[in-house]
Symmetry: C2
Subunit: 149 residues, 2 copies
Amino acid sequence: MDIEKLYINMGGEIKRFEKFGGKLEEGYEFFYKKRVAEVDVQLFGLISGDFSPIHFDENVALQTRFKGRVVHGMLTTSLISAALARLPGLVVILETYFVYIAPVRIGDEVEIKGVIQEADSEKNRYKINIDCFVNEKKVVEGWVKVLIW
Amino acid sequence: MDIEKLYINMGGEIKRFEKFGGKLEEGYEFFYKKRVAEVDVQLFGLISGDFSPIHFDENVALQTRFKGRVVHGMLTTSLISAALARLPGLVVILETYFVYIAPVRIGDEVEIKGVIQEADSEKNRYKINIDCFVNEKKVVEGWVKVLIW
């Protein structure tokens, strides 16, 4: 697949799609991490249409409180989609709430930690607490509600 | 830029980065739309690592209530990032809340509508109501809080 080769050649990290094991219940924890590369910021710009200078123009970004370019917040939280997709079953996201606490830099490895907070196994609905870290510093926190088929 | 040419050749829609005008105050409305193409789903898979069969395997997806492949929910909401980036000033997303109401299909044009609900022009903080539509059917609703430099 050409696009995958191009992605690797441009420095993107390929994550094989693997499923987590175990039984979904309160307290179930899962982890997922991925490095956010320059190519990810470029592609997220194309996909979304968000070419804000905060993500693309170092000169403009240097003059802000961020003191340099940062990764799109919603690119960081897109990794949560991948973490959830690895849960047993077919996962449908119903609702999300995220707080963006600190900037993520190009090249940072983002680690997602999820913990099931509420499990309704009859309706197959779960509320999951989410934290995102870079080098153990929390950059995003929040929760999601999912339906699992 | 090679990656942009490749994106166009693969059927992606390029949105030029333009800023909205006007004064940010309660009731300020803005709109943004983009077609979500096959290439967007492929690239969102690579960027995030979310290769769920719901997005990539028509045979599996046909057997679900969706009756076919759907776009990643967080790919749809990534267009909100682009809409917000077009507001006057440099926009930093602080907080997001979204409800995913209905599936989006590959090829659908998603329209974002934003309305400022609360404007604190001293602290440059705004709460913005967000709706996403496909052919006037609401697919996502929620709100964001942003800081504008």
